[in-house]
Symmetry: C2
Subunit: 367 residues, 2 copies
């Protein structure tokens, strides 16, 4: 079992990572002071419920907890105000009070939505995260919770830290391979912004990770959460440093917008984005080795590293400029200066970005 | 001009109370660091907009602010998740960013809703309150913001403190008399829980208050906000002391539920509730003078002080027990022990509460 602390003063909380942790969930709930007198509500989705809900509920009830569970449809569309309203209705009917906790069993969608339910129900009750995806190593650190609006993602939300996070590696065994890879993309990102040795490790252990070796996964998630935790604890409410977590995301978000939100997974889009940022960095003198290792590592994890031929560079550019990090002919980007080190530059010529996208696309043709 | 500070450490803020303050709004906005580079959004309702929106918008624009305004329908029904979604859409279209502020121009409905927009838009942006009702002296102190769910009032919300509150007494001149009285009910409540001299003052100046004398109103709102501010600053997130603010609310909420939410205004219901609490207190030995002065003061302000014949005592009792302050034959109540002093008792026999309600009803017949 691995453990780390997200250090946020009074709001600090631990993350436990290990095999089979859900089967001892009630002892963790107890240790963290989750009340048995008030009912809990587990929020999960239909796909995850099929595997993990019944045993978890049994375990918690055996531990003396009163448990209500709410099952939402899988998919990003559930992160909505309508779903918030429905879940608040279920919470009221189940009798949740100020001492109750909301428990998120799932990936980032369930976590973000359930977290916002917890943040706003009765103006804030306790929250516990039980992540079941690799991507959730990212979303379970930092306390950002939110739902989407038809006009913008994650625009309605709060900062609401969980009491603790219980990351059971067993749950990852059923995760679809494409979701595994997409989650690993953010793991690599955490290496690229902070920890060169860990990037080497990812490259060397790519196959173990893809084979879902619990040992490799445990190590990688611990490292990934650790980097995010350090960054977040230095900048809880996103005033500055936290921006480095956006490596690959300027191009990535634009690709997601152009592709339509279901064609490219978020982790796939930012994989291409990270390769693009490394290429852009070369124009500012970063060694080509940075670009090469970035690309090699992501490729070994089965992630896309070129811009697929079918995407129109003009459309990607205009989506990026919409994203508002754009001002007067220059753009803001997180750029790697070495493996494990990034800087934020506000002076990137728009033309250079276009050139990089065209190069990334050319590479698709050459493959 | 009167001024007071709501003392909440880093989240402290001032309340300015005076005549014509809205006509110098931009200097207050500037002094409190509201950015001119990012657009503002004023949220108000159709009734209030008719009187005060155009001049306010002109004043702010003259001061260099970019102002968008959103007008919601008057009434409690606007405090909904649907309206939150609409307002977030308007904010996005108007280009509000992290540095923008949401400005509430209105009473408690506009304040609670706009405050929750500010609390959740981009996970929290600045908030300014411009109250236009007397009741808002209560809702503008303490940072409680929320919307309703069909199953429960104020159940989805946050604690989000404003940057400052600008209370322009001129706006109260157009407030319907019934709303004036209902707002004064909470003013008297603040006296009853904390400040005997102020209760005497209210009794003596009841006519000035009803005549909307700016001087009397300014004094009363300053006192009322002051009491609430002291209580709230000792208990920001409602752990204990804040409960005394519920004087009259146990019976009051039950009456509102039985009456249907439009028949009795909140302030009217708690007026009856405060008289009931004082009568209940007599059973524990409180001097009859407490009951008499409570009743006399509220009556002078034109507020109801008896239980109208048409309300069924059984229904009121069962609404109260639903309200969950009920456990095993006893109930929790805030009771006055003297004018300006209350205690919280958890041992009120249910039968005594019923007796008090029946007495209050009898008094209606006798009138
Ligand atoms: N809060 C943050 O800081 C933060 C950070 C990054 C991403 N996010 C959010 O996270 C979301 C994406 O998260 P995600 O990738 O975990 O998506 P997800 O929660 O939708 O999970 C991806 C898919 O895998 C399925 N699944 C999850 N766990 C499974 C398991 N153990 N076995 C089988 N199937 C399983 C889900 O049903 C879903 O279909 C986005 O909404 C994004 O905005 C939030
Ligand atoms: N957040 C808190 O701490 C807190 C405390 C108490 C009450 N509240 C909330 O406050 C709300 C009630 O507030 P309210 O009584 O101010 O109601 P309100 O905002 O609905 O105003 C009452 C009526 O007066 C009209 N009005 C307001 N100002 C006017 C003016 N200057 N001239 C003419 N008409 C005017 C409104 O259009 C409305 O019809 C409730 O939703 C309640 O839950 C919140
Ligand atoms: Zn991401
Ligand atoms: Zn009240």
């Amino acid at each position: 079992m691995r453990e780390l602390t997200v250090d946020l003063g009074e709001r600090s909380y631990p993350i436990y990572i290990g095999e089979g942790l859900l089967s001892e969930a009630s002892s963790y709930f107890q240790r963290h002071g989750i009340s048995k007198r008030s009912p809990l509500m587990i929020i999960t989705n239909d796909e995850i419920a099929a595997h993990y809900l019944a045993p978890l509920q049994t375990e918690l009830e055996a531990g003396g907890y009163r448990v209500h569970s709410a099952i939402i449809p899988a998919g990003e569309n559930s992160k909505s105000l309508d779903m918030l309203g429905e879940l608040v209705g279920e919470a009221l009917e189940a009798g949740l009070d100020r001492k109750s906790a909301i428990v998120a069993l799932g990936g980032g969608v369930v976590g973000d939505l359930a977290g916002f339910v917890a943040a706003s129900y009765m103006r804030g009750i306790k929250f516990v995260q039980l992540p079941t995806t690799i991507l959730a190593h990212d979303s379970s650190v930092g306390g950002k919770v939110a739902v989407n609006h038809p006009l913008a993602k994650n625009i309605i939300g709060a900062f609401h830290q969980p009491e603790f996070v219980l990351y059971d590696l067993y749950t990852l065994q059923t995760l679809p391979l494409r979701e595994v890879k997409a989650g690993l993309s953010e793991v690599v990102k955490h290496g690229l912004i902070w920890d060169a040795e860990f990037v080497d490790w990812c490259e060397k252990h790519a196959n173990d990770l893809l084979a879902l070796s619990p040992d490799a996964l445990g190590y990688a998630l611990h490292k990934g959460c650790g980097v995010k935790a350090v960054v977040v604890s230095q900048d809880e409410t996103e005033q500055g440093l936290r921006a480095i977590l956006n490596l690959g995301h300027t191009i990535g978000h634009a690709l997601e917008a152009v592709a339509g939100y279901n064609e490219l997974l978020h982790g796939e889009a930012i994989s291409i984005g990270m390769v693009g940022s490394a290429r852009l960095a070369m124009k500012f003198g970063a060694p080509s080795q940075v670009y090469e290792q970035t690309k090699r590592t992501l490729a070994k994890l089965g992630l896309p590293v070129v811009l697929p031929e079918k995407y129109d560079v003009d459309k990607v550019m205009s989506a990026m400029m919409h994203d508002k990090k754009f001002a007067e002919g220059t753009m803001v980007f997180v750029l790697p200066t070495a493996i494990g080190k990034v800087e934020i530059r506000r002076d990137i010529p728009v033309d250079w970005v276009r050139e990089v996208l065209e190069q990334l696309k050319l590479e698709d043709e050459q493959q």
